[in-house]
Amino acid sequence: METLVHAAPFVGYVYPNETIIPWTVLIVVYPYLTGLVAGAFTVSSMYQVFGIQRFKPVAHLALLVSLCCMLVVPMPLLLHLGHPERALNSMITPHWTSAFAVFGYAAGFYVILLILETWFVYRSFIVQQAQEGKGPLRWFYQLLSLGSYDLSEKAMSYDRKWIFTLAVIGIPAAHGLHGYIGFVFGSLKAREWWSSDLMPLVFLFSAIISGTALLIVIYVASCRLRKVPVDLPCLKGMAYALWGFMMFTLLLEGVE
């Protein structure tokens, strides 16, 4: 319970109940994590859908980063709730006029999509590990392969078709998921500083920035760990993307 009374001389009169901030750091962490999901997925889609070859070295990593972040996204939300055990009520009895009612479905759909796409992307690696690995790790990969060991050209082109389709659906899904968080804030007419039509866009583009930035850090760190030289054109490409999106977000903030 954090109180705002000390700020009263600067902000003017505040309603007594509003001296407590209802949405605290957990509600800040949650959109940030979703932002990382959407941002990393954007980089992945630049290669998978739009065929930008310089992003090839990070395309798979980006998908994995996206999936990892997405799995922990509900955590801060659940911890924030007064009754986390009732969280599923929003899916069992959704109240459709609420912007929040969609979250469970949207997030669930997107997690399934991400798991599927990541599985297809990493399938050749999984099969390879399942056949050549040793010990418990081999069993783990055998389980992950779901009994499908076919790596023929026909099977791979079938996989590519699935990856492309999922990535195409994933773009609106990822961006929709994050844009809607902007809508959750922006549709609150009672909060003058949030209530703006630009809110979903501001959220979306800042998400792409933070996701790309995280990917740059993880990519460089993973190259160091694997002792592989960093692919400079790819790194530069991500830096340009970061710069471009950041300028656009600043423009949006300025317009706001």
């Binding site: 319970m1 109180t3 009374v5 009263a8 003017g12 009169y13 505040v14 309603y15 007594p16 109940n17 509003e18 001296t19 407590i20 209802p22 949405w23 924030h80 709730l81 007064g82 009754h83 986390p84 009732r86 969280a87 009520n89 929003s90 009895t93 959704p94 109240h95 006029t97 609420s98 912007a99 929040f100 009612a101 979250f103 959750v184 609150l188 007419k189 009672a190 909060r191």
Partner: protein, 282 residues
């Protein structure tokens, strides 16, 4: 005063000693009585709102349309309503959780904007001595006050409530008789409704992990009683009643006055009607 009307000093002494004796007896009796009351109230640990007699049997919510009136010209800022509400509904006894509160608007000479404060202001808490007691400090006694008034606030039980709109599980709803309530057994505690209320009328009950708000003392009004804050108001600044009954206090209040609502532009269509507030009141 002539000497004849003055009682002799002996008689006066006797009279005073009798008076003292009587006072002692009365005090003892009153003290015992108070003790009994205190024991009774301490034995009942939960607030009246949570007792077994609610929901009221045989209450037909299609037959009423409740509404509330506030006459700001009458309010004296005694804050008995705030205290009564806290006790009646078991609201946390600090300066940040209120189902109803009172604001003070003061225009000083030469200033164009009102100075606004409420009992949660640090200066007022200092004057009362604790966060659990509510008082308005006499902070303007040396200033030249041009105009000043109090404004009691509470949930507006809007016809189109933004808080109900945003609830993701439908735990908060508007009853047929025009009261906005929360199902504490279904609320997930996301606080979206707290954010959505433009009047700051919603609060979060940390103890129970759910949102909370004024219910117009639904457990009382369904039994034919007045809300606690209306009941205790010593000057009649708070008016409550059934709009379906043309002779009810609220019907008369709305009919006989030029009333207004808070933030009409929000589109929530509030059902708390005000008389005697100024343009700065939001």
């Amino acid at each position: 005063m002539s000497d004849t009307t003055k009682p002799p000093s002996d008689a006066r002494r006797a009279f005073l000693s009798q008076l003292g004796l009587a006072a002692t007896y009365t005090g003892a009796v009153a003290g015992l009585g108070a003790l009994g009351v205190a024991q009774e109230s301490s034995a009942k640990s939960e607030s009246p709102a949570a007792t077994e007699s609610f929901p009221t049997p045989d209450y037909d919510w299609t037959k009423h349309q409740w509404a509330f009136g506030v006459d700001a010209t009458k309010c004296i800022g005694c804050l008995r309503c705030v205290e009564a509400c806290k006790r009646e509904n078991g609201v946390a006894g600090d300066a940040h959780h209120f189902r109803t509160w009172v604001e003070r608007y003061v225009y000083l000479e030469g200033e164009t904007r009102a100075r606004v404060d409420s009992h949660h202001d640090p200066v007022n808490i200092e004057a009362s001595g604790s966060e659990g007691e509510y008082r308005f400090a006499n902070r303007y006694k040396d200033a030249k006050v041009e105009k000043a008034f109090f404004v009691p606030k509470l949930c507006n039980h809007c016809t189109h409530p933004a808080c109900v709109q945003v609830c993701p599980v439908g735990a908060t709803y508007r009853t047929e008789d025009g009261v906005v309530l929360i199902d504490h057994d279904y609320c997930i505690g996301c606080r979206y409704c707290v954010q959505a209320c433009p009047y700051g009328a919603r609060l979060f009950n940390e103890e129970q992990g759910v949102s909370d708000k004024c219910t117009w003392c639904y457990h009382r009004i369904t039994k034919g009683l007045q809300p606690a804050c209306v009941e205790v108001c010593p000057v009649g600044a708070r008016v409550f009643g059934d709009m379906n009954d043309k002779q009810s206090p609220i019907s008369l209040f709305v009919r006989n006055n030029r009333v207004q609502v808070l933030r009409p532009e929000s589109g929530n269509a509030p059902n708390v009607f005000y008389v005697g507030i100024d343009k700065e009141v939001v």
